[in-house]
């Protein structure tokens, strides 16, 4: 493929070969110019984000239906989540989004060390988010709140025996409603799990990008990759912005 690229460019009758003095090395052969290439890549990224929106759309639909059906179960389930960790995690993710945006700016203004710094910060904050998520998951596993694995209704039938439920002032749920907390936790794990999966993919790409950024790959005018990754990272942030109130903040007020 690379051979054919070279030949196509060398072709003397290539009309746009004369237009610019020289093509940047990153211009793929089938594009007319850098602008078209960047435009196309950015647009493709947006389309990909649309598919992601629809992917999470299915989960949000399920969430809304069951939240309406089993509201008390969702409230009780929500009270099992640690609001401190949740808020902290939101802050961590928003900050990482900010550092990512700064990273894009650094790439655009060709500040290599700034870009590397921003990417490293984003990387660390992303890992921090996952670390906190792990702590939260661990709590759930310890309390048998993972659907399908010895799921325990104890926190919902006897809220007084459960620290979180007691703190939130929960009253015991009716037995059938208590069973439906499993649906809440199914959605909790499906939604945060899918989100975490996107984070993991993002962090892996970030690692690769740090490596490349140190070599100066993104600070010579070709910022498309950084920009597009930024779009992805912000999108993942937006998903969490919605997951946080939907999962953590259901009726936190007393009674």
């Amino acid at each position: 493929m690379s051979d054919s690229t070279a030949i196509a460019h060398a072709a003397p009758d290539d009309p746009h070969a004369g237009g610019h003095e020289a093509h940047p090395a990153y211009l793929r052969h089938h594009f007319e110019n850098v602008e078209q290439q960047a435009d196309a890549a950015g647009f493709a990224m947006w389309l990909f984000l649309l598919t992601e929106v629809m992917f999470f759309g299915g989960l949000f639909t399920a969430y809304l239906i069951y939240r309406n059906w089993y509201y008390p179960a969702f409230v009780a389930g929500s009270h099992q989540l640690n609001i401190f960790w949740g808020t902290l995690n939101t802050a961590v993710l928003i900050t990482s989004s900010f550092t990512m945006a700064m990273g894009v700016w650094c790439a655009e203004t060709r500040k290599k060390s700034g870009l590397v710094l921003c990417l490293v910060l984003t990387f660390i904050l992303g890992l921090g988010f996952l670390g906190i998520k792990t702590v939260e998951y661990k709590e759930k596993i310890e309390k048998h709140h993972v659907p399908g694995f010895h799921y325990s209704l104890n926190s919902f039938l006897n809220p007084d025996s459960d620290a979180e439920a007691k703190a939130a002032g929960d009253k015991p749920l009716a037995p059938d409603m208590a069973e439906h907390t499993e649906v809440y936790f199914s959605l909790y794990f499906a939604m945060t799990g899918m989100h975490a999966l996107h984070m993991i993919i993002g962090i892996a790409i970030l690692g690769y990008m740090i490596f490349r950024a140190r070599a100066g790959a993104y600070t010579s005018g070709h910022v498309t990759f950084v920009e597009n990754f930024g779009l992805y990272w912000h999108f993942v942030d937006i998903i969490w912005i919605f997951l946080f109130p939907l999962l953590y903040l259901i009726s936190r007020h007393p009674n």
Partner: protein, 356 residues
């Protein structure tokens, strides 16, 4: 040749003797449905003929031999409008007509006789109010509206009677209903049309339409001794429902007399019509259907009562016109032997009773 000809012969015999092209119309609804069907076929034929005639005419008139140079035409707004508006109008007619029939099929009249049907892999089980059970068969009288209340015990099934032009999905966890009024005595096909696993194609049966007298005779012959409501009563007692729903002044549960068909005020606000679906839900997911003035203390019977059991309970509650029956039930509770399937004939035992 000798060994082929019988096959062909057999085929010809079948062709001439057993080759229906249109299903029998055996319900009051069938002619109405067919009227729409014929209208749709007519429109399709006309549409198809128009396209066919136009294409053939153009192909003959403007073939390269006859018409060597094409005349370039941009299009015609008038024509575009014509073939947008006319099909749209026809389709909208079908939409209105179709919706009317849909409502007719799925809105049972008030005086309909209710038969419960439970679908499970891979059989249909019908429960008549009189306690008659049948498997993969349904006996019904002519000239009487019959309502089927359908539910599935496992996967999606679909109860289809082509001769009546009705079909309804039997869904796990929810009652659905359909009704019809048979007009011609005879035996018709019953199919499960929703794919439901290995023996999907064996989940078939017979709809036997009898005259009114014939139906009475059949009812008498196949009676099981206890009616559905009586089965429900037994279950009611063995599950100790009457410990709370006993209509005493200090009862923990509401009185169930005359509850069916009433508008109930819910604890969370709002009212609900106590129909079959509501009664079923209240047994299985009680906390969402608490009536005003009562606490959500009722345990769930999910997993403890089979769908047949729920049906007999619902039928029992439906027929509760006074508290007298409940009191009677209360009195007989102690007399019931454990595992009450023993007393009743095996055929009629409610299957769901596991733990009281």
């Amino acid at each position: 040749m000798d060994h082929i000809s019988p096959v062909i012969w057999q085929f010809l015999v079948k062709w001439t003797t057993n080759f229906p092209l249109f299903p029998p119309e055996a319900s009051k609804l069938a002619p109405q449905m067919d009227a729409l069907l014929f209208f749709e076929i007519l429109v399709s034929l006309i549409g198809l003929t128009i396209v066919f005639l136009l294409v053939t005419t153009f192909c003959i008139m403007y073939s390269k031999g006859r018409h060597p140079v094409a005349v370039q035409i941009e299009g015609s707004t008038l024509l575009e409008a014509t073939w947008t508006i006319i099909p749209l109008g026809l389709f909208l007619m079908m939409f209105v007509w179709g919706s009317l029939i849909y409502f007719r099929v799925y809105t049972p009249p008030a005086n309909a006789m209710n038969i419960y049907v439970v679908g499970k892999q891979w059989m249909w089980k019908a429960e008549h109010p009189g306690g008659q059970h049948e498997i993969n068969a349904l006996h019904i009288p002519i000239d009487k509206p019959i309502q089927l209340t359908l539910i599935s015990q496992d996967v999606f099934h679909s109860f289809s009677i082509p001769a009546f032009r009705v079909k309804r999905e039997a869904i796990p966890g929810r009652y659905t209903s359909v009704w019809f009024e048979a007009t011609t005595p005879g035996t018709y096909h019953l199919f499960c049309t929703q794919y439901c696993g290995t023996n999907h194609s064996a989940m078939i049966g017979d709809i036997v339409v009898l005259t009114q007298d014939g139906y009475k005779k059949w009812l008498a012959e196949s009676t099981s001794g206890t009616s559905l409501a009586q089965n429900g009563e037994r279950l009611f007692a063995s599950l100790s429902c009457n410990a709370c729903h006993n209509s005493k002044p200090d009862a923990r549960g509401p009185s169930l007399a005359n509850v069916y068909g009433a508008k109930l005020a819910l604890a969370g606000g709002g009212t609900v019509l106590a129909d079959d679906a509501y009664l079923r839900e209240s047994i299985l997911n009680p906390s969402q259907h608490i009536t005003q003035g009562y606490a959500p203390i009722m345990p769930t019977y999910q997993g403890q009562v089979s769908e047949e059991g729920v049906i007999s309970l619902v039928e029992y509650i439906k027929n509760l016109n006074s508290n007298y029956r409940i009191e009677q039930t209360l009195n007989t509770t102690d007399l019931l032997p454990e595992g009450e399937g023993k007393t009743a004939p095996a055929k009629t035992a409610p299957q769901g009773v596991v733990k009281p």
